[in-house]
Amino acid sequence: MENTPAIRFENITKAFGTKVVANKNVTMDIASGEIVALLGENGSGKTTLMNMLSGIYRQDEGEIYINGEEVQITSPKDAYDLGIGMIHQHFKLVDVFTSIENIALGLDKKTTGANKEIADKVQEICDKYGFDVDPKKKVYNMTVSEKQTLEIVKTLYRGANILILDEPTAVLTPQETEKLFAVIRNMKADGKTIIIITHKLNEVLEISDHVAILRKGEYIGTVPTSEATVQSLTDMMVGEKVELDIERPEIQDKKLRLSVNHLGCKDKYGVTILDDMSFDAYGGEILGIAGISGSGQKQLLESIAGLQPTEQGSSILYIDPETNTPTEIIGKSVLQIKKMGIALAFVPEDRLGMGLVGSMDMTDNMMLRSYRKGHNIFTDRKTPRDLAFKVKDELEVATPGISTPVRKLSGGNVQKVLVGREIATEPTVMMAAYAVRGLDINTSYTIYRLLNEQKKKGVAVIYVGEDLDVLLALCDRIAVLCGGKLNGIVDGRTATKEEVGMMMTHLHENGQKEQEVQD
């Protein structure tokens, strides 16, 4: 047998419960010494398949072969012994430990953080592949990118020959992504096999040798990257032709709706999270918010929503579309804001932990916004039930029924329930944080369409995003945050990805500077 594949899956099936089949008869080969992108929409079973390879799950049926030999992987330790290492989306590091301590953790040898032998070997790995790891730095002081580097080094230290990276670029800036790709190429040059799970197609085309595609738990096929395009990959992933352009309707009637002035806030330890932020949001436009995660996006939206205590001197004025009178929002609770007649829709980042109650069904979740109505001590269930049916029909929510707990729905359908409920409040300001994170392509486009509809209705839409391609295609203006400061506002029609990426990481010399948009 020539060219034994590094990994061979044979008839792998894995089901959760009776209804959800995560992988169905997957038979595929991963060639040795290549970079293979594993592509598929959410719920297509990519991560499940890799989890079986790394010993987290056990397949119901089928076999796995490593370098031509059948293996039984029953624990992550087995996977390590076979030279398989996985870098998860959520890093598995101990925050209060240093780099070296994290690497030493779980090794059989008796080791301490000061162990010279380990430090030397780590240095050797770093030099070989171009990593940059500070051995004494504690994890809680690290940026996301540094944590990820540490995870990879840790995996290499344990002798991994096959590396699996689960959405490694989701949390990185464009510059950090470039750095990551450079080391991935170095690892490939050293003969390692690398599997990248992702759904950023541009990156797939840039880094991989082959693309393996899964759809709804089934293996669709593997294509050489050189023969693929964004469109061809999308079509294979979705199973039908997909229109990939994001619409950006021209602004009809731009009216000042929110005026944020000198907004500041601190966390409970007194660390400044938002620093003297000022900008305006207009009805009829989509204002994008860009920034690496944790730059203050969450606190900014929550300040507007009345959930975040702010510093003295902060001001957020809401200008009523009918009377044109400004009202101060700062210092008001969520309920007070609502009672003042301000219709604020908010799609938070944490959908099931904040926007919805996972264990409740669609009706009860619709009720979150409306249950207070009336003086009856009992709740009115009829109106929210009608709304649940309406949302289910109009947004095509795939659910066994409106009485199924929303936690059991897929990510895209959860988001449709949440967005549907928020739009139903007929908002004048709509905020959405990472509204398409983890959603499949069709649902993402549904969300863009809904946001554009709100924009056309004259709603002031504020969209916090992480995918710069999307922000640049969807938003009229983009406010770029950097370390809790507003680093400038750019025009979505003219700005470039590099420009925004640079603003996300390098604070403007004059500090805050607003570039007014011509319209």
Binding site: Q72, P348, M354, F378
Partner: protein
């Protein structure tokens, strides 16, 4: 690559998979099988350790609740009291407020009732029942509510740990009761029937209607069960409790005042414990000791959880617990204590272990090696 352990290992015999959904009937079949399995295991242990006929033992246990009318009523009374406390702790637990202070709240409620009966009854102001009973009821409820609100207030404002707080409050309550029983009994620590002559402040129906004096308790708790069901399921406040319990973040996001809900819910929880104390002191014993609550404050937690916080299911789970306890008592008497309290406890523990343990098989299924099946296919 070197030869590794994983390569040579055989496919594991079985692995565990979480079930996403299971039909209701199937869950009940598993539960009934679990009870049967528990009886078999108990039977083996009975034969092995005592040489007795297990069926005879089970008969004795059954008779503990059903042999005579009196035993039946006593069982209903115990069931009502345990259910009452379970109802009381449910709103708090549904809110994920770990109130293990029901014991103390019951005692304080009982103390409130006893103080009124003592000070305003035969030995004191000698109020008529028309005046004394309402005062007694209100005082008992208030005492229980206050005892419940204190930890809630601290939790809401300073995020103290409610588990430790409520537990400590139990010990304080026990000591307070000890103090009062000491005073009232002039040092003998047994209070005896309060107002034994006039029955002032006794919360009971006339003996002509209610032979054993338990009927009123049963009626009140039955009403409370229905009210609690409606409150949790259909009221706005019940809805707020569910939201706060599932996710404080979501509650804040929709503008629910979490502090207010925590305090209000513990007020209700404590007040209901106060009712339990009232029914025990004024309705049943007409006396008070540090043992009045009898561990119900803790047992009720299990009753409530097993019933998944549904008041109607709690009737069943409370019945199981009471039935086993009464059966164990009967077992001791019928066997002239050859089977003693400790042995009876072992049997109860085995049965409850199986009942709780079977939830694992309801939530997870075990998949055995699939190799054989595949060879047949091939």
């Amino acid at each position: 690559m070197e030869k590794t352990k994983a390569k040579s290992a055989r496919e594991p015999l079985f692995h565990i998979v979480k079930r996403t959904d299971i039909p209701k009937w199937k869950a009940w079949v598993i539960r009934i099988l679990a009870v049967l399995a528990a009886l078999v295991v108990c039977g083996i242990i009975i034969v092995a350790l005592t040489g007795k006929n297990p069926f005879e033992m089970y008969k004795f246990m059954f008779e503990g609740s059903f042999k005579t009318e009196r035993k039946f009523w006593k069982m209903l009374q115990d069931l009502a009291m345990l259910l009452c406390v379970a109802l009381a702790v449910t709103p708090a637990f549904k809110m994920r407020f770990w109130n293990i202070g029901a014991e103390g709240q019951i005692l304080m409620g009982g103390l409130g009732a006893a103080i009124c009966m003592k000070l305003l009854g035969d030995d004191g102001a000698q109020l008529s029942n028309g005046l004394l009973l309402p005062i007694t009821i209100i005082t008992a409820i208030l005492f229980g509510a206050i005892w419940g609100v204190i930890p809630a207030f601290f939790k809401a404002n300073w995020n103290t740990n409610e588990t430790l707080f409520t537990l400590m409050m139990n010990y304080i309550a026990i000591q307070v009761i000890a103090y009062f029983t000491f005073i009232w009994s002039s040092g003998s620590n047994t209070v005896g029937k309060i107002n034994a002559e006039s029955h002032a402040g006794w919360l009971q129906l006339p003996r002509e209607v209610d032979k054993y004096g338990y009927l009123l308790n049963v009626i009140i708790v039955a009403l409370l069960t229905i009210l609690m069901y409606l409150y949790l399921k259909y009221s706005k406040q019940g809805y707020e409790i569910s939201v706060v319990g599932e996710s404080v973040n979501t509650a804040r996001y929709v503008g629910i005042n979490v502090k207010k809900v925590v305090v209000r819910t513990m007020l209700i929880s404590g007040a209901l414990c106060g009712v339990a104390g009232l029914l025990l002191v004024s309705g049943t014993d007409q006396s008070i000791t540090a043992e009045t609550a009898g561990g119900r404050g803790y047992t009720a937690i299990m009753v409530s959880w097993l019933a998944q916080f549904n008041p109607f299911y709690m009737i069943l789970t409370a019945f199981i617990v009471v039935f086993l306890q009464r059966g164990a008592d009967e077992l001791q008497t019928q066997t002239n204590r050859i089977i003693n309290a400790d042995f009876a406890d072992i049997l109860i523990a085995i049965i409850i272990f199986f009942i709780i343990g079977c939830e694992f098989f309801i939530n997870y299924s075990i998949k055995f090696r699939s190799r054989k099946k595949k060879e047949v296919e091939a």
